[in-house]
Amino acid sequence: MEIREQQHGAVKAISPQGPLCQADAAEFQKVASGMLSATMGRCVVDLTATPYLDSQGLESLLSLSETLSDSGQLLKLCGVCETVREILELTDLASSFEQFEDITTAVRSFL
C-alpha cells in the first residue's frame, strides 16, 4: 500500500492511497505511529484517497487516537468520504477523532 507524506509547515500529513484493510491497516498504523511520535502529535491523517476501511483499519485509527489521548489530543482526520464517515458514525466512534473538511483546515487547527 502506498502511503504518501506531505509537509505543511511543521505539520505532517499522511495519506493512505487506498482502502485501509487487513495488512495495509497494520502497515499504516506502524508508519503513522512513528510519525506521530516524531512530530510530537503534529500530524494529520488525510483520508481523501481512502474510499472505505474495515474493522482493522478502524482499529488502527482508533489505536492512534488513543495514543494521542494520553497527551490530551485526538487524531485529526481530513477528507473523510461519505462511506468512512458513515462507518465512524455507525460504530459510534466519530467522537474519537477530530474531523476536518480538507487538509488546509486541519493544518490550521494547529495554529
Binding site: 511543521a10 505532517k12 503534529r42 494520553d70 490530551g72 494547529f110
Partner: protein
C-alpha cells in the same frame, strides 16, 4: 503475639494442625486450671466431711467413754473406740490424758497408760472441736478424744488423679490428631485454606506462608508471598516518596483532568526538578512521566537564555509570570515550545505551562516572508508604471510610437500587477482557510480540450511542440473545475515559459486509481537545491535564465495548495538542462451525478 506464634507455627501447622496445637494448648491450660480448682474444692469438701464425721463419731463415743472411764472399764473404752472406728471407717482414734498418756488407741501398740487413774491430770492442749474433743468424766476430770478420718480424703485424691490423667490423655490425643492432620495436609489444601483466609480478611503475609517441607508448591507459594511483600513495601515507599504530588484520591481525579489538557503542565521544585508532569508535557519533553519525575527540567532545554530564566523562576527570584520560547530537538522532530511559568506562592518551586507553538512560528515566518516578497513584487511594476506615466506627463509632445510604447508597457505592468494581486488573494485565502472548493462533476475530455486550445498559441509562438497524450476514454471526476484548471494552467504555462524555442512539452494523462497529469518539458531544468523550494511562495530558482523571465513565484505554490485541497499533490522530477516533469495527482471520487 500472633506474629510470634507464626514464627513457630508456619502454615502447615497453623491452618489445620496449627489450630489443633492451639486447641491442645488451650484445653491443656483449661484442664490444668480445672484440675487445680476441682482439687481444691474436693479437698475442702473432704475436710468438711471429715470434720462432720469426726463430730458424729465423737458424739457417739461420748456416752460410752463416760461410762467406761467412770467405771474404770479400760477394756470397755477400748472396745467402744474399736467399734466406732469400724463403724465410721476411721483411720485413727485415740483417748489420751492431760499428761499425754494414751489410754486407748486403735493401734494397741500406741497405748502408754497402764490403767485408768482415779483422777485425771488437767488437759494441756485445748481441743479444736474438729478432730479433737474433750470428754468430761464426772468426779475425775477430762480426757482428750482424737479422731482421724481418712476415707473421704482418699477418694478426693483419686478424683484429682483422674482429672490429671484425663488432661494428659486429652493432650496426647490432640497431639496425635495434630500429627495425623499434618500428615494428611497437602500443599494444595493448605494453599486453599490460605486463600480462604485472605478472603476472610487476612492481610498478614507471614500468616499465609507454608513450610518449605511441603515441596515445590509450597516454595512457589512462599516465593510469591515474598514477592508480594516486596511489592507492598515498594508501594509504601513510593507512596511516601510521592506523597506530596499524589496525596490522595482527590488529587488523582485532578491529575486525570490535567492529563486531558493538550498543553503540558509541569510542577518543579526549587532546584527545577520535575515533581509532576501531565501526559502532554511528557510528550513535549520526550520522556515518560515516571521517567521524568525527579529529573532536572533544565537538562532537557539546550538554550542558555531559557535555562537562566527558568532557573531564576524556580528559585523564586522572579516574582511574576515569565514566558520563554525554546527549541528542542533537531531536524524534522524539532519543536518550538513556549513555556509560561509562575512561582508557587508560599513555597518553593513553580508551575509551568508548555505549549507547542512550532506551527505558529512557521506560519509567522511564512507570513512575514509573504509580506516582504509581496511588497517587493508589487513595487517593481508600480515603479515601472510610475516612471512611464511620468515620462508621458513630462513629454506631452512625444511622438505617437513612443507614447504607444509607453502605454503598452504601462498596460503590461498593470496586467502584471493584476495577476500578482489575484495570486496573492488566492494565497491569502488559502492562508486564512477561507478558500473553499466548489465541488462539481468535471468532464476531463472537455477540460483538456480547452487547455490544449488555450496553450496552442503560446506554444506556437515559441515554436514549441505541445502534445497532449490522452487515453481514449477519460472518466468524469469530482472536484473544483476552476481550481483544477488554475493548477494545470500554472504548471503547463510554466513548462512553456521555461522551455527554450524549438523544445517540446508533453502532457500525459492517466486516470486509473487517481488522476495523474504528467507535464514533461525539455526546458532548462531545475537544480537539486531549488527543487525542494520551488513550491514555496515567491521562490524563484537561482538561475540567470529564470531571472530573465517574468514571474511572481506564486504559480507553483498555488498549484500545490489547490491540489492538496483536493487530497492530491504536485511533485517534480528534473534534470538540469534536460528538462523537468511535474506530476499533478488527484484521487478519484465517484461523480456526484452517479452518487445522486
Amino acid at each position: 503475639m500472633r506474629r510470634m506464634l507464626r514464627q513457630f507455627f508456619p502454615r502447615q501447622t497453623s491452618m489445620i494442625s496449627g489450630v489443633l496445637v492451639m486447641n491442645t494448648l488451650i484445653v491443656a491450660c483449661a484442664m490444668a486450671a480445672l484440675w487445680i480448682v476441682v482439687g481444691e474444692v474436693r479437698r475442702e469438701e473432704a475436710t468438711r466431711a471429715a470434720d462432720r464425721k469426726a463430730i458424729v463419731v465423737a458424739e457417739m463415743l461420748r456416752p460410752d467413754l463416760e461410762r467406761a472411764f467412770a467405771e474404770k472399764d479400760l477394756a470397755g473404752a477400748r472396745l467402744a473406740i474399736a467399734k466406732a472406728a469400724h463403724a465410721g471407717a476411721l483411720s485413727g482414734c485415740r483417748v489420751s490424758l492431760g499428761d499425754g498418756a494414751v489410754v486407748a488407741d486403735l493401734d494397741a501398740s500406741a497405748v502408754t497408760a497402764k490403767g485408768i487413774p482415779d483422777e485425771f491430770p488437767p488437759l494441756t492442749a485445748e481441743p479444736d472441736s474438729h478432730h479433737s474433743f474433750a470428754i468430761d468424766i464426772p468426779g475425775k476430770g477430762r480426757v482428750l478424744l482424737a479422731i482421724e478420718v481418712a476415707a473421704a480424703t482418699a477418694r478426693s485424691e483419686w478424683l484429682e488423679y483422674g482429672f490429671g490423667g484425663t488432661c494428659l490423655g486429652a493432650i496426647v490425643l490432640l497431639g496425635v490428631v495434630s500429627v495425623r492432620a499434618q500428615k494428611r495436609a497437602t500443599p494444595v489444601t493448605l494453599v486453599q485454606s490460605a486463600l480462604s483466609s485472605v478472603q476472610a480478611g487476612e492481610k498478614e503475609l507471614a500468616a499465609l506462608e507454608l513450610a518449605d517441607s511441603f515441596g515445590g508448591i509450597a516454595e512457589a507459594w512462599n516465593g510469591m508471598l515474598r514477592e508480594l511483600a516486596t511489592h507492598r513495601a515498594r508501594a509504601r515507599f513510593d507512596s511516601v516518596l510521592t506523597r506530596r504530588t499524589e496525596p490522595g484520591e482527590r488529587d488523582e481525579v485532578v491529575g486525570k483532568m490535567v492529563d486531558s489538557l493538550w498543553h503540558g503542565v509541569v510542577a518543579v521544585d526549587e532546584e527545577m526538578r520535575i515533581r509532576y508532569c501531565n501526559g502532554a508535557a511528557a510528550v513535549f519533553l520526550s520522556g515518560t512521566r515516571d521517567g521524568l519525575i525527579g529529573t532536572p527540567l533544565l537538562d532537557r532545554i539546550s538554550e542558555l537564555q531559557a535555562k537562566e530564566k527558568l532557573a531564576a523562576l524556580a528559585a523564586a527570584k522572579g516574582r511574576g509570570k515569565i514566558v520563554v520560547e525554546t527549541r528542542i530537538g533537531e531536524g524534522d522532530g524539532s519543536a518550538v515550545l513556549r513555556i509560561s511559568g509562575k512561582p508557587v506562592s508560599g513555597g518553593g518551586g513553580a508551575m509551568l505551562l508548555i505549549e507547542d507553538v512550532t506551527q505558529q512560528r512557521v506560519a509567522d515566518r511564512s507570513r512575514n516572508a509573504f509580506v516582504e516578497q509581496a511588497t517587493h513584487e508589487l513595487r517593481t511594476p508600480l515603479t515601472n508604471v510610475r516612471l512611464y506615466v511620468e515620462a508621458l506627463v513630462e513629454k506631452p509632445d512625444a511622438d505617437v510610437s513612443t507614447r504607444s510604447q509607453h502605454l503598452n508597457i504601462i498596460n503590461q505592468e498593470v496586467r502584471r500587477l493584476e495577476r500578482i494581486v489575484g495570486d496573492m488573494l488566492s494565497v491569502s485565502e488559502i492562508e486564512a482557510g477561507t478558500l473553499k472548493l466548489a465541488i462539481h462533476d468535471i468532464r476531463l475530455p472537455a477540460l483538456f480540450s480547452d487547455l490544449e486550445a488555450e496553450f496552442a498559441a503560446p506554444a506556437r509562438s515559441k515554436n514549441i511542440t505541445l502534445r497532449f497524450d490522452l487515453p481514449p476514454k477519460l472518466p468524469t471526476i469530482v472536484g473544483d473545475r476552476d481550481k483544477l484548471v488554475l493548477a494545470l494552467t500554472n504548471v503547463i504555462g510554466n513548462a512553456i515559459k521555461y522551455t527554450p524555442e524549438g523544445g517540446t512539452v508533453k502532457v500525459g494523462v492517466r486516470a486509473d486509481d487517481a488522476l495523474v497529469v504528467d507535464v514533461a518539458d525539455s526546458g532548462i531544468g531545475i537544480a537539486a537545491d531549488d527543487a525542494d523550494r520551488i513550491f514555496d511562495r515567491f521562490y524563484r530558482a537561482k538561475d540567470p535564465r529564470v531571472e530573465k523571465i517574468v514571474g511572481t513565484g506564486l504559480g507553483l505554490a498555488l498549484a500545490r495548495e489547490v491540489m492538496r485541497l483536493h487530497g492530491g499533490d504536485v511533485t517534480v522530477q528534473s534534470v538540469p538542462d534536460r528538462g523537468s516533469t511535474f506530476s499533478i495527482r488527484m484521487p478519484l471520487k465517484a461523480p456526484l451525478s452517479m452518487a445522486a
